[in-house]
């Protein structure tokens, strides 16, 4: 089969031994690759109830069938999958750049890390040769420093490195894995799992050829997509970038501001994408094989943060900006750079900083608790200092680095209600009180609060539905988007390119066929997307998550939007949420409790996983009986 390398690498960090097993062809067809294959392998490779930080929790790194080809945006992705130390359910996060291409050329569809190294190590995958090397000299280094040091040590400047920063080493639950200095597999704490294994970095060199099943037709299709990528579907990403959302969301009053105390920000103009591009964007660069290029590299030209250089996107800008009440782009860029330095999810870090500020303003945290930080909303210095605290785990940062949910519980005194998260994962830049299709998507997302599991916000933001009401049919909108998004993340093509697949599943199935030579219809691929959402749900059910966890942050359900304007008074009631969940579960063919039915699993060819939904007590006790 073309496209796939056909091999899975197992690395046992406890013993230092590695071995290769062939990729199960049925898994490839059913779960495609990327997060789909990763989640299925996670289910197989872990025991129920496994502690995310234990050596037994596998950290799974995958490529997709398209990785390593010239497919625009699709050539370059990789994904990390594990049990999340934030949600205690599915953790998964993707990143692009060039790392995934290298891993595919080294000949692997997936790498499964288990065990725990005795001391800090990095793994050096040089085609077939796999070694654990001492990383004691890399302790405390940022991902960028680590990457440079490893290239120097191995004497090859073209190898690719994905690594954790100091926060990952210290098991900050929002730690991420960063490749090529600014590309992060950011969400759900994959860097913390890596840290728990004493694994500092993964360095890869791959020399193998990548070929596709139908090269001529494939190149015709590439050419067509190069053209599509110059068109309207990607215009936003190539010009202002996602930061264009600031003014759009602000005008709709759907931009969570000051830890969800407001839904619009008076300083929005100052932190707009327009302003960012005019004053800070120095160059827009591209990932390997991409014909689009979106990575807005910003440089601060003057002032206290002069010389800071990093990539900016809407989500991270929002989190450290409006969500903290901060209206200074230079400080936001500095905050982003610090997140990259320490290796923490910049969305989560901004949300936690905003949470700490809310606690401070409400007297739950004092200046003494914060060691002198005057954490008023809008104090840009305080925002930067809080991010530093989280990254180093010093002082209050030790608690904050646990993520907003656990931090809220530890701080107590009502802080729990100020912690805006779903399933332990921090919220993102869409005010769910005012976007009710998105609210459903966020509530049911298998990796916790997230806009990238469904993109359901687009119906609300673009006015395709009445965003302030709930009604039958929202469940189907979310389901259809979820099924498509899981395929995007399993082929691993870039989300920013999703609009170029004019015929959606049909285009994606054609791509899959041309690369792999395996005939797959649009319906087959749609069903694979549905299957992957079900397998993720099954993992979460096995780990004890269910309807009770498909919920919304406290303020979304209890604090109506106070701002004058279109969103005034909006919030989501329990009744509305229940209505949405019922509609969604029914559309999915799940029970009222949100469990896939036996019939649904049979329909999707997942008979082997039926024991999970039949289990009454211990999740996996009946496994193997059928």
């Amino acid at each position: 089969m073309h496209g796939y390398a056909g091999r899975i690498l197992h690395v046992d960090l406890t013993t230092g031994k590695a071995h290769v097993e062939p990729l199960n062809g049925e898994y490839a067809r059913k779960y495609i690759g990327g997060i789909g294959l990763g989640i299925r392998l996670l289910l197989d490779q872990s025991e129920p109830g496994v502690d995310p930080f234990s050596p037994e929790n596998p950290l799974i790194l995958t490529t997709g069938p398209i990785s390593g080809t010239m497919w625009p945006t699709g050539g370059n992705g990789h994904a990390f999958v594990s049990k999340s130390p934030q949600s205690f359910g599915v953790g998964e996060s993707k990143a692009h750049g060039s790392f995934g291409t290298e891993l595919k050329r080294a000949g692997y569809d997936a790498v499964i890390f288990k065990g725990k190294a005795e001391k800090l190590v990095y793994v050096w995958i040089d085609d077939d040769s796999v070694q654990l090397l001492d990383a004691s000299q890399l302790k405390g280094k940022s991902p960028a420093e680590t990457e440079d040091a490893i290239k120097e040590e191995l004497g090859d400047y073209y190898i690719r490195v994905a690594s954790i920063g100091p926060a990952g080493e210290k098991l900050a639950r929002l730690a991420c894995v960063i490749n090529e200095k600014t590309r992060a597999a950011g969400r759900t704490g994959m860097g913390a799992v890596m840290g728990s294994k004493n694994l500092k970095a993964i360095a890869v060199r791959g020399t193998l050829d990548i070929t596709v099943a139908k090269p001529e037709e494939f190149m015709e299709f590439v050419k067509e997509f190069h053209e599509r990528m110059k068109g309207p579907a990607t215009h936003k990403y190539r010009t202002l970038g996602t930061a264009a959302n600031v003014l759009v969301h602000n005008s709709l009053a759907c931009m969570p501001t000051r830890n969800y105390n407001n839904a619009s920000f008076e300083g929005a103009e100052k932190v707009s994408g327009e302003n960012l591009n005019e004053r800070f964007v120095a160059k827009i660069i591209g990932c390997s094989s991409c014909a689009m290029r979106c990575e807005h590299m910003c440089v601060v030209p003057e002032g206290p943060y002069k010389g800071t250089m990093t990539r900016m996107e809407y989500e991270t800008l929002w989190a450290m900006g409006p969500y903290c009440g901060v209206d200074r782009l230079d400080a936001i860029i500095k905050g982003m750079d610090l997140c990259n330095y320490y290796g923490i999810d910049a969305i989560g870090a901004g949300v936690i900083a905003g949470f700490a500020m809310d606690c401070y303003e409400k007297g739950i945290l004092t200046e003494k608790d914060l060691e002198g930080i005057d954490a008023r909303f809008g104090n840009h210095e305080a925002m930067v200092q809080l991010i530093e605290k989280i990254g180093t785990r010093e002082g209050i940062g030790d608690i904050l680095a646990e993520g907003v949910k656990i931090a809220g519980e530890k701080i107590g005194k009502g802080a729990e209600k100020l912690a805006q998260h779903i399933k332990g994962v921090e919220v993102t830049g869409y005010d769910l009180r005012t976007l009710k299709t998105a609210a459903l998507g966020f509530a049911v997302s298998f990796r916790g609060a997230d806009h990238n599991r469904h993109g359901a916000y687009s119906f609300d933001v673009k006015g395709k539905v009445n965003r302030f009401i709930v009604e039958k049919g929202r469940g189907k909108l979310v389901k259809d988007m979820e099924d498509q998004y899981t395929i995007v993340d399993s082929l691993i093509v870039c989300k920013f390119s999703r609009g170029t697949y004019y015929k959606e599943f049909e285009d994606m199935a054609k791509l899959y066929n041309l690369v792999t030579g395996v005939e797959m219809t649009a319906e087959d691929l749609r069903q694979a997307g549905e299957r992957i959402n079900n397998v993720a749900r099954l993992f979460n059910i096995r780990e004890g998550l269910g309807r009770k966890d498909d919920t919304l942050p406290y303020k979304v359900m209890h604090l109506p939007v106070p701002d004058e304007g279109p969103s005034k008074g909006a919030y989501v009631t329990q009744k509305e949420l229940d209505f949405l969940l019922d509609d969604y579960y029914e559309t999915r063919g799940w029970t009222k409790e949100g469990k896939p039915t036996k019939e649904k699993l049979k329909e999707l060819g997942m008979n082997d996983l039926i024991p999970i939904v039949e289990a009454k007590t211990g999740p996996r006790e009946k496994a193997g009986e059928e």
Binding site: T69, T182, I285, G286, A291
Partner: protein, 169 residues
């Protein structure tokens, strides 16, 4: 022999190049029927996120690679200026690689002989130039490069002049 002023080579515009490696992919596909940057005649260098440039053979006058080859495996085409490799003579010793100031000569990972950009003679035009999404690559002579640089410089001067002239500090 083609005069140096008429000799065309592939050059990347540092203002436009974003480091996407599309040139590497199309080169290896064209020449080796596979996607593999290690087999590309053009390679991308990213010093940091702001500094990206694709580099390939510049068809030098009196090319040091040709002079360095102890086995006379390299010759420069009189017609085009392209450096040609006699694969029977080349034993992969790497003297030419060392002699090239631009890192434009690579050792083939399997055949163990060197390979160099030949401007896609068979295809009639360099495929990297054709495929570059940014139009950052160009097949140019040194003269044209100099012209372009002059125009850019003058434009910049004018920009500054326009910016500063009407507004008093």
């Amino acid at each position: 022999m083609v005069k140096i002023h008429e000799r065309k080579f592939v050059s990347a515009d540092p203002e436009k190049c974003v480091g996407c490696q599309v040139c590497e992919y199309i080169c290896s596909l064209t020449k080796e029927q596979a996607f593999n940057p290690l087999k590309s005649r053009i390679r991308v260098v990213r010093i940091n996120q702001l500094i990206n440039l694709a580099v390939t053979c510049r068809l030098c006058e009196d090319p040091p690679c040709v002079a360095a080859c102890p086995r006379d495996a390299l010759t420069q085409s009189e017609e085009t200026g392209v450096i040609m490799v006699d694969e029977d003579k080349c034993n992969g010793c790497g003297w030419c690689i060392e002699a090239c100031d631009y890192g434009a000569i690579m050792l083939h990972p399997e055949n163990k002989v060197v390979f160099i950009c030949d401007l896609c003679q068979e295809q009639g035009e360099p495929q990297c130039v054709k495929w570059c999404p940014e139009e950052a690559l160009d097949l140019v002579t040194s003269d044209v490069l100099a012209q372009k640089a002059r125009i850019t410089a003058v434009k910049k001067l004018f920009q500054e002049a326009l910016k500063t002239a009407p507004v008093a500090p």
